[in-house]
Amino acid sequence: MALNFIGDDAEIWYDYEGTPLKWHYPIGLLYDIHGLQASSGRGLNGSLLPWKITVHFQNFPGDKLIKSQAVDSCQDYFMSMIKEADYLRNGSTKKVMNMSKSDQTQLWDGLSSNNYDRFWGMNHKLMLNDGVMARNLPIRIYLPENCPVIQEPVSPVDESKQPRTLRQILNASLPDLFPLVETGPPVAAAMIHGIIPCLDTSAIWASQNMSYPDNFLHLVIIFL
């Protein structure tokens, strides 16, 4: 039996407890989404590590998962997230499109070969945006049960040019879950990289220091 690992016939896919895992999401994000929610009985201190994932070699669910997972498509998807982040920050993708081929290669190579210095050599230019305040912050918010991702333009400052906090950002999209003034115990929390940041954290600081390699803050909402 021939197994196809690359190209349009690529049949490898992964699932956790029956749910196909979106291969184009960063693995940390996948763990935040699937791991903690599924183990909500263990509370926030629970851990699923080592995370048991099933590998499949056939019956690719084309209705649920994007196809062609060859390394090239990983790179394409990564670059389109980088472009989108750039567009959100600057209102155009000029910065990314004007990167030389070797710079783009350095960004991807640094990431794919796990070379921190090589990756950040390029990425810091994108993240710090030449000191120019971003128009919008690249943020994606994930709700449970395969809800569509919340992605809206998020301004880093409010009307009086004060930096907004994570609480204010989350309140704008999910006012019921994240009231500006807490009237009781919190019902929800936002998780990133497996930790729950304090909601008074400055959003721009979070964007510059806690983004994933694709330049996005992927916030997963969990219920307390």
Partner: protein
């Protein structure tokens, strides 16, 4: 109120394209769904559908709605179809039947976005199959009926026009499948949907080609889409060469231009007049906001 709940609207067009002929049935709908808490299939939303005559034949592309329709030739088959549909719809309370020969009524009644259908309402529609005439649209059960009775193998293409909050332009998402339900892979999309003279251009656009897959922003399942970052500079070039006084005509022109540019690339063959008004209704507010912001810079 459920958390994360906000209506996301998109314009949905489903085209049934028999492989043996150039004709097609196009189903137009404007859908608004609340962001679901659970499985999207169970989402309750209000569905606004429109009955719009569409003609895919080249001769009728420029013709006005309702013109050049050879009604007599299709009369008998239409009656049979209407009978069938009546049977399907008899369970439902409000039924509006559109008379076969009364296309002028259809025009006068402003079909675009004027038919509001609650969950259980269905609208009886006239459908003309496999004939070089105007064919038009409606309702999920009618769509299912057409699929069940279609004898030829056909391609079913679904186009969704969704507004992208990041790029502030409309984005064209689409999927195609054969009568057996199998979704077409990328190579066959290029073969079946992209017109010959567009193929090389679309393939070479951007970093990896103009068409890729992504999670649909509302349905969260894989859909092919045309990269919006190619649209943005393209539309800026087009816009800068045009001069408009009122915001209304600017928007309409913007949408028409957008549809004719992007739609053609993937075989979206609807008359620009019908398409522009319907797309306009869906994205109007958002595009106005986005376009104003861009033009203020």
């Amino acid at each position: 109120q459920r958390p994360g709940q906000r209506p996301r609207g998109y314009l949905a067009l489903t085209e049934i394209r028999p492989l043996s002929s150039n004709d097609a049935l196009v189903f137009f709908g404007r859908q608004e769904q609340e962001t679901p808490w659970t499985n999207l299939d169970n989402t309750v939303g209000s569905n606004h559908f429109s009955a719009i005559p569409i003609d895919r034949s080249p001769a009728a592309t420029a013709a006005t709605v309702g013109a050049d329709v050879d009604v007599d030739a299709a009369q008998s088959s239409e009656e049979a179809l209407l009978d069938e549909l009546d049977e399907i719809n008899e369970d439902f309370e409000d039924i509006e039947a559109i008379e076969a020969a009364d296309l002028s009524t259809l025009e006068a009644s402003n079909p675009l976005c004027s038919l509001h259908i609650e969950e259980e309402l269905l609208l009886t529609a006239k459908m003309l199959t496999c004939s070089p005439l105007c064919s038009f649209a409606l309702i999920p059960s009618a769509l299912k009926w057409v699929k069940d009775t279609m004898e030829d193998d056909y391609l079913s293409v679904t186009y969704h026009i969704v507004y992208s909050p990041s790029f502030q332009v409309p984005v064209l998402y689409f999927n195609a499948c054969r009568s057996n339900g199998l979704i077409l892979p990328l190579e066959q999309i290029y073969e079946s949907l992209v017109p010959n003279d567009w193929r090389t251009g679309v393939r070479n656009a951007g970093l990896s080609g103009g068409i890729s897959q992504q999670d649909h922003p509302v349905l969260n399942v894989p859909f092919f889409y045309l990269h919006p970052c190619e649209t943005v500079p393209l539309m800026e070039t087009v816009q800068s060469g045009q001069n408009f006084d009122e915001s209304g005509s600017f928007l309409e022109s913007y949408i028409m231009t957008w549809i004719s540019l992007t739609g053609q690339a993937v075989g979206l063959a609807v008359s620009t007049q019908a398409a522009s008004e319907a797309a306009l209704a869906t994205v109007k507010a958002k595009v106005a906001e986005g376009v104003e912001n861009q033009s203020q810079d």
